[in-house]
């Protein structure tokens, strides 16, 4: 049946009217903000003058960034943080979710693991700072029982980033475990029963049934985890202030300090654009890897 042209136009108009609030919100808080950020990244602006009077400096903000050793070390720290937290969270969450799935009172266990998710990152950072305290913290105390010498976890440049990564993994696992559990429950039990009849071991079933069928969930958690990890700010801000900046500082903190301490909005915006490009490339790369494995659903 052919829809009359007038009615179709009216429907389109109605759709745009309904969409207009979100489009307006998107235009102001995303499109304008991103556009302004790109524009200002080619200028020198300290927020004390009108942005219209900001001097055009071409690509020099981008060039200067890569000659700044602190930006480079922030970039390296961000890469280490993003990959290690994402990989550790995904692997550990999957293993724990599989284990919890077969446990009695699994809901109680899931609740325990989920608790850090509803705790503010600032509170987590402060509590863990106490746990890591070299003389009064429980971490050194427990390691002492095992004969391991005490370390200054949050100030020693060799350990500070690793100490924060451990906290990030602990805090990030809860939500992933919950999502993995939902994914595991969606796998039909008949597959496992058939495999069991064929004499497959639990390890064989994990690698041949669970892992392939849980791939969409793994992809989702990898991509969202990676995007979040690239933008980490709060934990580093709370826990990393006493370590040498080059050993813990990440890009988002570098952007914040460049913008609001150094008042160099142009350089900060250029760094933000670089972060955006990295997140985009990493996400596409992750999607590419999973597509090779046969997942199309998130494209």
């Amino acid at each position: 049946m052919k829809i009359p042209m007038k009615s179709s136009r009216r429907e389109n108009l109605a759709a745009y009217v309904f969409l207009s609030p979100i489009l307006l919100f998107f235009a102001i808080f995303f499109a304008f903000a991103v556009g302004f950020s790109v524009w200002i990244s080619f200028r020198e602006w300290d927020m004390l003058i009108s942005p219209l009077d900001a001097v055009f400096v071409g690509p020099s903000n981008y060039v200067v960034l890569f000659s700044d050793p602190l930006f480079v070390s922030s970039l390296v720290n961000t890469v280490i943080y993003a990959f290690s937290t994402t990989i550790a969270v995904v692997i550990l969450s999957l293993l724990i979710a599989v284990a919890l799935n077969n446990l009695r009172y699994s809901a109680v266990w899931r609740f325990i693991y989920f608790a850090p998710v509803v705790t503010p990152a600032v509170a987590i950072g402060i509590i863990w700072s106490y746990l890591y305290n070299p003389s009064r913290g429980i971490v050194n105390e427990v390691l002492g029982w095992l004969g391991i010498p005490a370390h200054n976890w949050l100030t020693d440049p060799h350990y500070a980033l690793m100490a924060i990564i451990i906290v990030a993994v602990w805090a990030g696992m809860g939500a992933s475990i919950l999502i993995f559990t939902a994914g595991l429950r969606a796998i039909p039990q008949s597959y496992y029963e058939a495999a069991r009849i064929d004499g497959a071991t639990k390890v064989k079933m994990f690698f041949s049934i669970t892992l392939p069928l849980i791939k969409p969930t793994t992809l989702f958690l990898s991509v969202t985890g990676m995007i979040g990890a690239w933008q980490v700010f709060d934990l580093i801000y709370i826990m990393g202030t006493n370590a040498p900046a080059s050993s813990v500082q990440v890009i988002s903190l570098y952007i914040y300090k460049t913008a609001f301490v150094n008042l160099q909005m142009g350089s900060a915006s250029a760094a933000a654009m670089i972060l955006f490009a990295i997140v985009l490339v990493t996400t596409l790369f992750t999607l590419g890897i999973f597509r090779k494995g046969g997942i199309e659903s998130y494209e």
């Binding site: 003389s135 200054n152 100030t155």
Partner: protein, 429 residues
Amino acid sequence: MRKVFWILLLIGILASFTTTAKTVLVIQTHWSDFQVNGILDKNGNLVYPGLKQYIDEYTKLNPDVEIQIREVPFDNYLQQLLVSHMAGKAADIYDLYSLWAVQLVNSKILDIPPSDILNGVKNDFVSASVKGATIDGKIWGIPSEIDNYALIYNKKLLTEAGYSEPPKTWAELIKMAPKLTKYDEKGAITQYGFAFLSGWDSAVVHPYLSLLYSLGGAMFSADYTECLVNNPLGVEALNEELALFKEKATNSAGSVFDFPHNTVAMMIMAPWYVSSLKQAYGDKYDEYVGIEPIPPVKNPATVAYTWFFGVDNASKNKVAAWDFLKWFALQVQPNTNTTRAGDLEVNVISVIPPNKADLENHLAQLADLKVFIDQLKNSVQEPNVMQGAQIKTILMDQIVAAWNGQVTAQQALDNAVRKINPILSRYYH
């Protein structure tokens, strides 16, 4: 008849607007709640007035003026100032850290004070604070606070270690500190002979500058075209700090804020921390806390920094703003011979008032800060340089890297100078 009614109504409305129109001033401060609202006793009675009570007094005297207080935490102060300025919601009066003010002066955000205020500042305030409020050769406001540094030590811990007196020289301090340091069986320091504080630029850079000035060094060339910290005096100053790390009398995990736990024997700290120590120790304050000038490496010296009241150049009520500041921070009250700002600074905020009259007439209340006040004569004002906060952060990062053994003193300061000089070259030629 109806026409007359409407005309009368219109006149009435206009009249009510003209009679109620007030000059509204907004004052932005980093002071906390009790400093704004005053100190109350257990029954809720006002013991010492805060900023609000002084404003109430002023608005009673000047009913055509209304003053609103904008409290902003120290950590967000500069950001809030920038954002509110950009949004056209700037305050009329600021209490400013002098290092931040340099950028504001450069961007023409601050108003030049009237000549009577300039003369008052020149004549009535201690010279270090006048230097603090001076940027590019001009005074930009009325000093509201001056801070310098001294050695704060734990008398009990020193006595326990067999010392009846604090160190008189930095070399003595380096010798004493290891004997005041205790480790547990796991190898962690449980008592710091000397504590630094990493992670806060002022807490890292100011003690270093105090040692640098003691050696006769300078942070910048006189025209600010060059950073000088990597010259031999600058390196020596940092090596004097690193000696404490080599002697295992401290590490970068220490904190000056652990002093009230009796786990820090000595530290370099500012006068504003003394009120917290008094609160923490209560009656035992004199038994535990001792304050002496920073033991000199060579000559007595300490660094100082200043806060001052300034007025926004874009304010529509600049005259009214300066009038209030003159009444509040410059005029001496006949009954006490002190300024109202001085009373507030001494009784409530617990800092050194920069006005000479306040220093002379608040002697009893300032007894705990006597060493700091005596050291004003040896205080060198932190340089008011463009991008000062950024430069301080760069220097902090490098000093902390040296504390952690990542680089030597020379390498750290070379790295700092390599980053600081290009910044200076953008503003000074």
